[in-house]
């Protein structure tokens, strides 16, 4: 093996270790690692830039701009307040309906965006009901990650997979939405059994909820209408991909440009709201993974995986599902998926196994596995941060006591789904 091979692996492992340690901001670490890949001569700059998936970046940036403007209209808060009213002021129906709304929002919005919208509503609702917000907060975490599994745009790992594997929005919907729906149902059922005794409210609290007027959540009717039109067009764009062959980035960016044209004169504020640190984190990761690919390390890992599973389709797919889940429970699922994508491509190239079931197993494992611990996904960290500030700290063990069993049941549901649908 040439020295470059080992240098690349050491650099990659070291970079990921520092990212996981969270001692330095992940974006800085990823960019530093990526720069070293080029400075040490493992990659030429040209090759590094080729490794950056600009379709993923464009899709992320476009959606961030569209959703950033749309949420100013208050439309998502309107739906959440309306849902609380639909529950007739009774805690259990409200708990279940809000959980369902989190899953649906999360299927179309980024998970972190979803929880940032839903956590304030949750506090307002639980304060009115005079019930403990913790079951609601934990439910929000779990369902945001589960709902995000359902579509191409629901969770960054899905965007990565879809873009790299050339999968369409509809393919994600047809293959992953049913699994996401099943796991959502099972999770809501388990949460209900776990928390039903805590979810009791006095009649006067119920009356407080019934006085809600969801219309008060709408801040601008004109922004609302324009946002709905653009979001509708973007969705139509995604649905008709198989006819138009327009890539995700084109659709999302066109939507962002159109909505900015309709609603704002100065784009600076909206462009500033794009989570640039996430975008640059992706850039760094793409280059790091490209370096590892370049020296042949990814191919070696793929060979190892096939050796272990004996090239058997069922064994390989289920290893990817559970392996991804276990990894994602501990580490950020984005760097994990970024590494797995070329690995799975190599698995296909070496063994000739059909790739589709592997992609779905990767997405399900990585998205849902993140639920198991409070640090398993960005949404978890965000919710626990807000909860802590409001005096409802969610402990590491306290969270796992509920989340680990629910995640394992969810993964068993996924295993059965994947097995019945793709492996027999």
């Amino acid at each position: 093996m040439p020295a470059m091979f080992y240098i690349a692996i050491v650099l990659f492992v070291f970079t990921y270790a520092v990212i996981i340690s969270e001692k330095i901001h992940r974006t800085i670490v990823a960019l530093l690692g990526a720069s070293l890949m080029i400075l040490l001569g493992i990659l030429h700059q040209e090759k590094a830039i080729e490794g950056i998936d600009f379709n993923t970046l464009g899709l992320l940036i476009g959606m961030m701009i569209v959703v950033g403007i749309a949420k100013q209209s208050g439309m998502f808060q309107y739906v959440a307040i309306w849902a609380a009213k639909m529950g007739r002021g009774k805690p259990i129906p409200i708990f279940l309906i809000l959980g369902g709304i989190v899953a649906v929002f999360s299927a179309f919005l980024d998970n972190v965006t979803t929880v940032l919208l839903m956590v304030p509503v949750t506090f307002v609702v639980t304060n009115n009901l005079k019930v403990n917000p913790k079951p609601f907060l934990i439910g929000t975490i779990l369902l945001s990650n589960i709902g995000g599994t359902a579509t191409l745009i629901g969770d960054p790992p899905n965007i990565l997979i879809g873009s790299a594997a050339g999968l369409t929005f509809n393919q994600f919907l047809v293959n992953l939405a049913p699994a996401s729906l099943l796991v959502t149902g099972v999770t809501l059922g388990l949460l209900y059994f776990w928390y039903r005794k805590q979810l009791v409210a006095a009649p006067e609290s119920q009356a407080a909820i019934m006085k809600f007027d969801p219309k008060e959540a709408i801040s601008s009717r004109s922004v609302l209408v324009k946002s709905l039109i653009v979001l509708g067009l973007v969705l139509v764009g995604f649905f008709t991909h198989s006819v138009t062959h327009l890539e995700g980035a084109t659709i999302a960016m066109a939507g962002a440009a159109l909505l900015m044209l309709l609603t704002v004169r100065e784009p600076d504020d909206h462009l500033r709201e794009v989570e640039w640190s996430t975008i640059f984190f992706f850039i760094g990761l793409f280059i790091l993974v490209t370096g590892l690919e370049e020296v042949g390390a990814i191919r070696m890992l793929a060979e190892k995986l096939l050796e272990v599973t004996g090239g058997n389709m069922t064994a390989t797919t289920l290893s990817v599902l559970w392996g991804s889940a276990i990894f994602s429970a501990v580490v950020d699922n984005i760097p994990f998926v970024a590494t797995m994508i070329p690995l799975i491509k190599d698995v296909g190239a070496i063994s000739g196994l059909p790739l589709l079931p592997l992609w779905w197993a990767l997405a399900l494992g990585a998205d849902i596995g993140g639920n198991a611990t409070i640090v398993g996904a960005s949404a978890n960290v965000v919710v626990s941060g807000i909860a802590g500030r409001e005096g409802h700290k969610i402990g590491f063990g306290e969270y796992m006591k509920v989340a680990v069993p629910i995640t394992i049941v969810g993964l068993i549901v996924c295993t059965i789904y994947v097995y019945l649908r793709y492996l027999i």
């Binding site: 808060q77 304030p120 509503v121 506090f123 307002v124 304060n127 009115n128 005079k130 807000i386 409001e390």
Partner: protein
């Protein structure tokens, strides 16, 4: 007064409402109410300026972060949350609420220098300190207004 120099010393007031950083929120509110002011200077045991507390500072703490994030939801918030938040915070030391980074000026500074600070940072009050950082006076927008009136020859 045609040849007036317009220095801070001419317009500052030397009686300043002060409070210790260890005072509680409820003590601070009581002090502010009795002094009929919205801002007090926080000084340590040596009368050195440690911060400024304006009513604005604790109002921000009373409003939960999640409502600041999503202000339209305030319309739906349960009515008793306000009182609960106040009770939760009442015994907290004001060091938690005050602005610790304080702009100050000295008595021999020109009024323009003080006015520039007020205008640049949109602040309402400016503690006046000596060379050791000890509080000697206080200047606010009203005092600048008095100086403007003097320039214009308006008698109060």
């Amino acid at each position: 007064m045609p040849d007036k120099k317009y220095t801070v010393a001419d317009y500052m007031r030397s009686e300043v409402v002060t409070i210790a950083p260890t005072a509680t929120l409820s003590e601070a509110v009581a002090t502010m109410l009795s002094a009929k002011t919205n801002g007090v200077v926080v000084v340590d045991e040596n009368r050195r300026v440690a911060g400024i507390l304006s009513s604005w500072d604790f109002i921000q703490h009373i409003v939960p972060d999640y409502l600041e994030e999503d202000k339209h939801l305030a319309a739906f918030e349960s009515g008793d949350v306000f009182a609960e938040r106040v009770k939760e915070l009442k015994d907290d030391p004001i060091a938690k609420f005050m602005s610790a980074k304080v702009h100050t000026c000295k008595a021999n500074h020109s009024l323009m220098e003080a006015a520039t600070l007020l205008s640049e940072f949109r602040i309402r009050q400016l503690p006046v300190v000596d060379d050791d950082g000890v509080l000697v006076g206080y200047l606010n927008r009203t005092d600048i207004k008095k100086a403007i009136a003097d320039v214009l020859g308006l008698s109060a």
